[in-house]
Amino acid sequence: MHRRLGVSVVLAGLMAIALCSVSTDVAGAAGSVIQGTVKATGLPSSADAVVYLQQVSGSFPAPAKPANIDQRSMQFNPHVLPVVVGTTVQFLNSDPTAHNVFSPDYEKYNLGTWPQGQTKDHTFAKCAKVPCAYVQLCRVHPEMEGYVVVLQNPFYAVTGADGHYKIDNVPPGTYSVGVWHAKLKSAPKPVTVDGTKPAVVDFVLGR
């Protein structure tokens, strides 16, 4: 995770200190690492699974700058983009052909169709129950597909092809680690981190 946490986050006790230290490098209790491997059973690649903490106390404002998805070579890039609720995503069309962006999920939206070099924004303002996965589709090219996965907090990571993930700077505490995948699923797992050594949480995804 690479979201900057605002110093405006005010929490009681150690939690507050830990979180502040994440964003400000203030000396104190260090954040922990949660890492592991996700195995996407039956798929040629274990990439594009989102591993995230289901609920972390505190509020996590969306970043001021929009997140980006590029429509390039007839593909949504990145294929899977996790964001904190409230984040604005800017969709760029880098192809010489016109692309469209719409989603049939939740409140549903259609940003229209636009040419190369232009962008359109959409703000993912709410998510009643994380994760809220919005499939991103293009009416012009039905095979194009991407995902914006809306989460409560910025403690998340996306797996690479080897299935490995790493979430940094997790404040000490006990959490439920969830995993989202476009085709497969797995139950969440509990984890406790104390700010000293990395915690390892592996998942095997199935149908």
């Binding site: 059973t41 039956g42 040629p44 499939v135 589709l137 039905p142 597909e145």
Partner: protein
């Protein structure tokens, strides 16, 4: 072979005819398009192609999908024709699908070195020696899946004729809808032209011999006193015996890994040659068929192994498979022209016919013994071709059976022997008995050399000895 198809069916003599061995080749499938798709050997599915092993049979029944197939088993990634998310949009969007990234084509070629001896009507014997029928047949296949629930199989056959021309036949063209609802593999549907799952085993999937089982598929029931012998070609939808191919729709499925149900509806006997209406079906009535079978032991029909390791030798599948089948045809208003012995031109109509049978197949180590029994009844109405007067109405019956043993000597060498017999309905005709011996050798997994000897066991001067080379790529 194909040249005979459309001539033999209408010209039927009432005289007792000798059993000229028809030597109608069984249709044979080896589809390396699948080998390419999964980057696997032919022997994953075939014992000696086209004969399928238990895994191959499961692959076929599941709509050309491996048991427990996952995306990573498919080595040629599919091309998406729409994100699966479009399912949520239907009917405001086209339902998503996919196609193979490589053109799923395959070719089979067959060469035959032919030696035959046949007794003519006047008692003389004709002999053909070392006739190099190179090639005798070329088949082009296109087969695969279109996403999770759709499959297809097409085959175009080019057969060389004696006069140098080539006959083209659309032998298969069907689309399958696989497990569209319900538990996996309980419901499959096929539409098109295909080998009905009633008889697929003896026509295609279990047979490595070149000769088809004529006693089941090439009996001709049309005759003034009932059928007299072989003649109609099962590969034609005009077959009035047991059809090896149908134009129709079929449902089938696997119940609890072990049982199989089949129910189908087919056009049946095609329009008479003089029919100018352009119709495919000779009448408005449809034929229906059904089958039920059960497999004891061995691999499940859907490839289920119950967690047991599968035998190291790909043909080992110690098991017993038994089944019953029935086909009811309606050929009313389809005249078969005939000249009686006394020179009267008549039309014979088979207003309805019933074919019912059972079969069994036992695998034990290197040996597979299988066979089928068929009982057929016809309803023949003979009318005077000139006046239309009904001359005779009879309900003749015939029966046929065969048994075959296949023995694997080496993983590349199979010996087969088959005995088949048909007792025609016309009581004046002796039963027909045919023996077939075959030695099949895989030179490579996709190259096969066969020597096949076939003999009319009633008339020893009817025989053939062919050497065949088949390859698939």
């Amino acid at each position: 072979m194909i040249a005979q198809r459309y001539s033999a069916q209408r010209v039927v003599r009432t005289a007792v005819i000798g059993v000229a061995l028809l030597a109608i080749a069984s249709t044979a499938h080896a589809v390396p398009a699948f080998a390419r798709k999964y980057q696997t050997s032919c022997q994953t599915c075939h014992i000696v192609f086209p004969k399928l092993n238990a895994f191959g049979e499961a692959f076929r029944l599941r709509g050309y999908r491996m048991p427990g197939e996952t995306e990573e088993m498919v080595k040629q990634p599919a091309v998406s024709l729409g994100s699966p998310a479009y399912k949520k949009l239907w009917p405001q969007a086209v339902w998503p699908g996919e196609i193979s990234s490589a053109v799923p084509l395959a070719v089979n070629v067959k060469m035959a070195e032919v030696n035959t001896s046949s007794v003519n009507d006047d008692g003389s014997v004709s002999r053909i020696s070392n006739d190099l029928q190179f090639p005798q047949e070329v088949n082009i296949f296109g087969a695969g899946t279109l996403g999770e629930h759709v499959s297809y199989f097409t085959e175009v056959t080019f057969s060389a004729n004696a006069d140098g021309s080539v006959a083209v036949d659309l032998e298969h063209a069907h689309m399958g809808f696989d497990s569209p609802f319900g538990p996996e593999d309980l419901f499959h549907f096929r539409i098109g032209k295909f080998a009905p799952n009633v008889v697929d085993g003896f026509q295609e999937m279990w047979i490595a011999t070149d000769g088809a089982i004529d006693s089941l598929f090439n009996y001709n029931p049309i005759g003034v006193n009932g059928g007299t012998g072989l003649g109609a070609d099962a590969l034609s939808p005009n077959s009035i015996s047991l059809p090896a191919l149908v134009n129709g729709v079929e449902g089938y499925g696997i119940i609890n890994h072990r049982a199989m149900w089949v129910a189908g509806l087919a056009n049946g006997v095609m329009a008479a040659p003089g029919d100018t209406t352009g119709r495919f079906d000779g009448n408005n009535a449809k034929d229906v068929y059904a089958r039920f079978d059960y497999k004891f032991g061995g691999m499940g029909l859907d490839g289920d192994t119950g967690g047991q390791p599968i035998p190291e030798k790909n043909w080992h599948d110690n098991s017993l498979r038994v089944g019953v089948f029935t086909y009811r045809g309606d050929a009313s208003s389809i005249p078969f022209a005939l000249e009686t012995d006394s020179g009267v031109n008549v039309n014979i109509e088979d207003s309805h016919f019933l074919r019912t049978g059972f079969y069994a197949s036992v695998f034990y180590q290197d040996l597979n013994v299988f066979g089928a029994y068929l009982h057929g009844t016809d309803t023949l109405n003979t009318t005077d071709a000139a006046t239309g007067a009904l001359l005779q109405a009879i309900e003749p019956a015939y029966h046929a059976w065969f048994t075959q043993a296949d023995y694997m000597i080496y993983p590349w060498l199979q010996a087969s022997g088959r005995y088949e017999t048909v007792t025609p309905a016309d009581p004046a005709v002796q039963s027909i008995r045919i023996g077939t011996l075959n030695m099949s050798a895989l030179v490579r997994a996709n190259v096969k050399v066969m020597v096949e000897y076939q003999r009319d066991l009633r008339q020893g001067d009817n025989h053939s000895l062919n050497a065949l080379l088949r390859f698939a790529f």
